[in-house]
């Protein structure tokens, strides 16, 4: 029994550290983020971080970050009239080509086609960030 409890505590501690790294991505999605820095936040090695993050949240840190950036772009496209290039840079992409390709891969349409769906209803941003995140590639 004590053994099960120990395992449980270890999982909780690991989860909390992975969540801390994921929160860092949510907070700094627009900045260049590398796995080394995120692994340091979680106090684990890089290889261990990628593996454990995926086991905890079902996707790699890279994919999580891409979806976060695309979600922020989706939000901005439909809530302000700034240019697609501005929005691309603001959410952390450095090239419009990569942004457009990634956006289309994830959302299934181009940024401007997505924008043409019109403005979003006003909801608290934290829920928009949780629920508007596209659920899969392709």
């Amino acid at each position: 029994m004590w053994c099960d409890l120990d395992v449980g505590r270890a999982v909780e501690d690991t989860n909390r550290r992975m969540l801390r790294a994921r929160d860092t991505m949510d907070r700094h999605y627009a900045e260049p983020l590398d796995v080394a820095a995120l692994a340091r936040v979680a106090h684990v090695s890089e290889a261990h971080f990628i593996r454990t993050f995926r086991a905890t949240f079902g996707e790699t840190p890279h994919r999580y970050l891409q979806r976060r950036r695309v979600e922020r772009a989706m939000f901005l496209l439909r809530s302000c009239d700034r240019s697609v290039t501005d929005i691309c840079l603001e959410v952390g992409f450095t090239s419009l080509g990569t942004f457009s390709r990634t956006f289309r891969d994830i959302v299934g349409e181009s940024p401007s086609a997505y924008r043409s769906r019109g403005p979003l209803a006003a909801v608290p941003t934290c829920f928009a960030m949780s629920w508007m995140r596209p659920s899969s590639f392709g």
Binding site: D4, G8, V11, E12, D13, N15, R16, M18, L19, R20, R22, D23, D26, R27, T56, F57, A122, P124, T125, C126
Partner: protein
Amino acid sequence: MFNALTISQIFVLDQDQALDFYVGKLGLEVHTDADLGFMRWLTVNVPGQPDREILLERPGAPRMDEATAAQVRELLTKGAMAGTLFFTTDDCQKTYETLLAKGVEFTDEPTKRDYGIDCGLRDPFGNAIRFSQPLS
């Protein structure tokens, strides 16, 4: 029908640690801390607002079998079953800086939104907390 919302509940892994955080760092006050025998009934509230309590409940036996409690703790720590509490503040930036200096972990820095200035943090267990300075 209903008159008021009085008590909301969230799960915490450790009630003493929860007190350190919710009272010691966030500045809430203890409403009730009672040993009921079968559980420790621990609620906190925003100072001056004792009619809205937050119950800080520990998942565990006998309410849940140990395996279920372990699942709840796992989900809580990965942020997946974490409750969300929304508070208001007169000065979002100042509150943010005060809490940051106390070592609170933030998920969002103060940001201007349509409805006010808003930011987000986590409690030590994975629960999400937000506070906003509403548009005046």
